[in-house]
């Protein structure tokens, strides 16, 4: 979960309104709502969180609590592509730390951060469950298996 402050672009609240209307019935679905917002905007924009708090009559701290507890959420804008390095046990022993170090070096940003040009966000995940193909890197939901530091650099080149 990234919390570092960054310049936030102006946010169009109209699509969020639609999402909130679909969820206003059920308090249970707050997490699902946040997931949809994250998917729509790529992160949880502050004005949208404020809007949700008003509409669902929830304290903002509660939303902030959820947004910072669950790793799937980000409070800062993310890159056009998300590179997720699997650091499950098998990937760890098969060289995930080298992949992560290579990517950090190559992209010039640390894990959890976004490149200056907004092209990539670098993250890690504890296991995507494809251990027989370790080490794995997931780029925008597409898993790439059996990667080496050289191969991972070649792979990310394909994403503009």
């Amino acid at each position: 979960m990234a919390t570092r402050t960054a310049r936030e672009p102006a946010v169009d609240l109209a699509p969020a309104e639609g999402l909130i209307n679909a969820y206003v019935e059920s308090r249970e679905a707050t997490i699902a709502l946040l997931q949809d917002v994250q998917k729509l905007y790529g992160y949880l924009p502050r004005p949208v969180l404020d809007l949700i708090a008003r509409r669902l009559d929830l304290p903002r701290t509660q939303l902030y609590g959820l947004a910072t507890f669950y790793k799937a959420f980000s409070l800062v804008p993310r890159g056009r592509h998300c590179i997720t390095v699997c650091t499950g046990t098998t990937c760890h022993v098969k060289g995930a730390p080298h992949l992560l170090a290579t990517l950090e070096r190559e992209l010039g940003c640390r894990c959890g951060e976004t490149t200056k040009d907004g092209r990539f966000t670098l993250e890690r995940v504890n296991c995507v469950g494809a251990c027989a193909r370790a080490p794995i890197v997931v780029i925008d939901e597409k898993p790439h298996g059996r990667l080496s530091p050289a191969k991972v650099i070649k792979t990310i080149e394909r994403y503009e």
Binding site: E28, F69, T89, A130, C131, A132, R133, K142, S148, P149
Partner: protein
């Protein structure tokens, strides 16, 4: 259309059989996550292209994982009247070649793993034999797929359909006997009879705890409450475990049918599936399955005309490991932060929204239709005295054949490792098997490897998540492992050879748990942080005398004073590795050496001048330019054909620039790069 009778099911089954075994060539690409990671998406496209604009007369379909993840992308080609041929490591290029052959009416055996000669649907018992090899098959003789060493000792109950059906078409599932059990149960059995049957079968929870499923259902049914909930726990958080993912991606209806039967038995009208957000494929397959179930009248009001109502919601997890714990999971479904609570009141009495809740894991639910169809006696005839049926494991790490396997309870770890897994890679030595994820399957052994019976880490034995060689003959079942002071774990089995540093692995698990601790209990939140700091210190060469003892003391406190299982088992990785690999800890602390050559601060790469040929492969491979050319190598010997034509320069590694990634060692064909 809604299914209301056996005749309806029969009609769909006929349709489904026509889809499973069409009258023309059928090509099935395994597109579960492991397949996709190996490039199955591109392979599928290639086949679709060939069948589309390429004009190849063939049906192209997707399926889940057939288990042999190592060999992905796996593709099955079935021409009517011949055995199914399973090809491995498929690429778009190879796919095109295969399609060319198919157009010419032949099929080569190159790249084929084996042929499936006979298929039996577990629930219907219907056998489908394909003509023996030679009947227009692959030419050269192929081994029987089911008799490959990887499959020979397996018995598939939960995985009965994985890899054999299109998970997104309910008709395929019904063709193999699906939803007949649900119909029979709703029409002919009372809830009490169902619970009795499950109890008699001896089915126990597959998520790791091993609690008797029948007893859980009974308590939930008997608990007072205005409403009851059933939950499927698909928040498979243990790194190195992917049983639930594969089940959901390959056969979501198998789990769902079990869940609907359970809901009827318990008296629940509302279910939840809590699935990891990191499993997008599983979520997609589940959503499709729910849609189909509603369309066919298998979910919703008046299921199959029985008057029973039940529906299910999918909840995607938020990427928090602790949410695999049942009370944290329920808090998360309620829309709260996933913090566990004390369980002096069981969740079967007061769970979700403080109402009776029955939570089972994916694999447990997937076993239910089979138990109900084949009967408790049949199920109880498999396995050992106290552990019935089978268990799915993900067998990964430094083993030759990795993948998803299902074996009868009671099989030894050695059989799993050597017979199914094919043993350790040539030239390497077995070191340990890690079971049960970060909580570590806790097997207690003394110095000689004999099991002792104590569970407090401060006494004779230490909990062990790492099974050393001396314990490999231990049978895989709840009771033997419990007797040895251990537990089954959820099913991850990570094999490690001598290249793995046990201190590094302990550090890995502790930093994992440190990040995942929800922060509620201080000993877990702060204790793990301190342990991580100590382990970091040791692996970076700054370990001090007394660190091992400090780790042991801290570990015991964290385990004794945490509320949930995350903290309660958190210290297993360091405690067990200290117990069995103490010499490795000592080497790090006192000699500042990492015997396995993993901890970067303690190793350096050097080039052996005697072995270096000056080929330059290492220099090209180095990502930071730390490999430099040095002195000239001796001039090539006149007349020696193996000698290089011109004089070459010896290579050297500049230690200050080296990032110790090992790329040079991987690139060197002459073993000239050594780790020190």
């Amino acid at each position: 259309m809604k299914i209301r009778s056996i005749a309806d099911l029969d009609r769909i089954k006929e349709e489904g059989l026509g889809l499973l075994y069409p009258n023309r060539t059928k090509i099935v690409v395994g597109t579960a996550t492991c397949g996709l990671a190996a490039g199955a998406g591109e392979v599928l496209e290639a086949f679709r292209r060939a069948a589309g604009e390429g004009g190849l007369d063939a049906v192209v379909e997707e399926s889940g994982c057939i288990g042999f993840c190592q060999m992905e992308p796996l593709v099955t080609v079935h021409r009517p009247g011949t055995p199914k041929i399973v090809y491995h490591a498929m690429t778009p290029k190879k796919a095109e070649a295969l399609c060319r052959e198919l157009r010419e009416g032949r099929l080569s055996s190159a790249g084929a793993l084996g042929e499936i000669r006979c298929e039996t649907a577990l629930l219907t018992g219907e056998e489908r034999r394909f003509a023996a090899n030679g009947g227009g098959g692959a030419g050269a003789a192929l081994p029987d797929f089911d008799d490959l060493p990887f499959y020979r000792k397996q018995l598939k109950i939960a995985l009965r359909n994985c890899g054999y059906i299109d998970p997104e078409d309910i008709r395929h599932y019904i063709a193999r006997g699906g939803y007949y059990t649900l119909r029979a149960v709703l029409a002919e059995r009372t809830p009490d009879e169902i619970i009795d049957e499950i109890t008699k079968s001896g089915l126990r929870g597959r998520g790791g705890g091993g609690f008797p499923t029948g007893r859980k259902w009974r308590s939930c049914r008997n608990a007072p409450g205005a409403r009851r909930y059933v939950i499927c726990n698909a928040d498979e958080g243990d790194p190195g475990a992917f049983m639930d993912r594969s089940l959901l991606e390959g056969d979501p209806h198998g789990m769902l049918e079990g869940m609907i039967i359970g809901a009827f038995a318990i008296g629940s009208d509302r279910g939840y599936i809590y699935v990891r957000n990191e499993y997008p494929q599983a979520v997609k397959k589940l959503m499709r399955a729910l849609e189909e179930c509603r369309a066919y009248g298998l979910l919703g009001a008046d299921i199959m005309g029985s008057g029973v109502s039940f529906d299910v919601t999918i909840n995607r997890g938020g990427g928090a490991f602790v949410c695999g714990e049942s009370t944290a999971l329920m808090a998360s479904i309620e829309g709260k932060v996933g913090e566990p609570r004390a369980k002096y009141i069981h969740t079967v009495e007061q769970g979700l929204h403080n109402l009776p809740t029955c939570l089972n894991n994916v694999e447990t639910w997937a076993n239910v239709p089979v138990v109900m169809h084949k009967g408790a006696a049949w199920f109880a005839s498999i396995g050992t005295e106290g552990s019935k049926g089978t268990k799915v494991f993900s067998l990964v790490g430094d083993v030759k054949h990795s993948g998803l396997i299902e074996v009868p309870m009671g099989i030894s770890i050695r059989e799993v490792l050597y017979d199914i897994g094919g043993g350790i890679e040539e030239g390497h030595r077995f070191k340990a098997v890690q079971t049960g994820g970060p909580s570590g399957g806790t097997i207690l052994v003394d110095e000689k490897g004999a099991t002792v019976r104590t569970s407090t880490p401060s006494e004779d034995g230490a909990p062990l998540g790492f099974v050393p060689e001396s314990l490999l003959d231990l049978p895989v079942d709840f009771d033997s492992l419990t007797e040895a002071g251990s537990m089954m774990g959820s099913g991850g089995m990570i094999v490690m050879d001598e290249k793995n540093c046990m201190v590094d692995i302990a550090r890995y698990y502790i930093s994992f748990l440190c990040e995942e601790s929800c922060g509620r209990c201080l000993p877990c939140r702060e204790g793990l942080r301190q342990m991580a700091a100590i382990l970091d210190r040791i692996t970076s060469g700054r370990g001090e005398h007394g660190d091992i003892e400090l780790l042991e003391e801290l570990g015991a406190v964290v385990m004794d004073t945490s509320l949930c299982a995350l903290g309660g088992t958190a210290a297993n990785p360091p405690l067990s590795t200290i117990r069995y690999f103490r010499d490795e800890y000592e080497a790090h602390i006192y000699d500042k050496k990492c015997p396995a050559g993993v901890c970067k601060a303690l190793i350096r790469f050097v080039i052996d001048p005697a072995a270096c040929t000056g080929c330059g492969a290492c220099r090209a491979a180095c990502p930071v330019g730390a490999v430099k050319e040095g002195a000239a190598l001796p001039a090539p010997v006149e007349g020696d054909p193996a000698a290089p034509r011109k004089a070459r320069l010896l290579h050297e590694i500049e230690q200050a620039a080296c990032i110790k990634c090992g790329a040079c060692a991987d690139a060197c064909k002459f073993n000239a790069v050594r780790k020190e």
